[in-house]
């Protein structure tokens, strides 16, 4: 089974601070994705990547940046965190036919 690892599992940040969420996959998938999960909204796509060096905007990219330095790693960056970015963030890799999700990062912005 595909392995996707996220870190940290939990994060508390202050408003205006910088937050970096990390994701690593060991299955050589070209595509990687960042979603946020909120009650009533489901899973919404923030950024995605087709491979090392590429990042694409998803449906809700405002306030987020992404970085794909290698096939294995895909980071989500909040340069100036706001309380509205409090959420659970999921990284995924795979194809649109089958996505493999990490265990999620619970981010609280105070």
């Amino acid at each position: 089974e595909a392995a996707v690892t996220q870190s940290p599992r939990n994060k508390v940040a202050v408003t205006g601070g910088k937050v970096t969420l990390s994701c690593n996959q060991t299955n050589n998938h070209n595509n990687m994705y960042w979603y946020r999960q909120d009650t009533g909204h489901g899973l919404r796509l923030i950024h995605y990547s087709y491979g090392a060096g590429s990042t694409e905007k998803g449906d809700i990219p405002d306030g987020y940046k992404a970085s794909r330095p290698s096939q294995e790693n895909f980071s989500l960056i909040l340069e100036l965190a706001t309380p509205s970015q409090t959420s659970v963030y999921f990284c995924a890799s795979g194809t649109p036919e089958t996505l493999y999700f990490g265990s999620g990062t619970r981010l609280t912005v105070l």
Partner: protein, 113 residues
């Protein structure tokens, strides 16, 4: 643009009763449809996906039929189990160039003894 609608946010039923979770979609293209399941404090996982040849996908007692005429892909199970309690997402991917997976808002299923 493409979208997925799950009208029920919360479904509660008694063990042994049939389950049906609704999913409708809008897409310019002929999409593939999926159901993902997320148990408490776990990651979402693929439950089943539509086929191009109109076969009915089944997994763990769940099945779903893609009806293009009504743009629906409802999830069904004949007899609910306590372990079926989870958050269920319907999703679609369309051949629109980016091959993104678009999720509905999710349905929380709670099965009571």
């Amino acid at each position: 643009g493409d979208s997925v609608t799950q009208t029920e946010g919360l479904v509660t039923l008694t063990e042994g009763l049939p389950v049906m979770l609704n999913c409708t979609y809008q897409s310019t293209y002929s999409p593939f449809l999926f159901w993902y399941v997320q148990h408490l404090n776990e990651a979402p996982k693929l439950l089943l996906k539509s086929f191009t040849d109109n076969k009915r996908p089944e997994h763990q007692g769940f099945h779903a039929t893609l009806h293009k005429s009504s743009s629906s892909f409802h999830l069904q199970k004949s007899s609910a189990q306590l372990s079926d309690s989870a958050l269920y997402y319907c999703a679609l991917s369309a051949a629109s160039g980016s091959w993104q997976l678009i999720f509905g808002s999710g349905t929380q299923l709670t099965v009571m003894p």
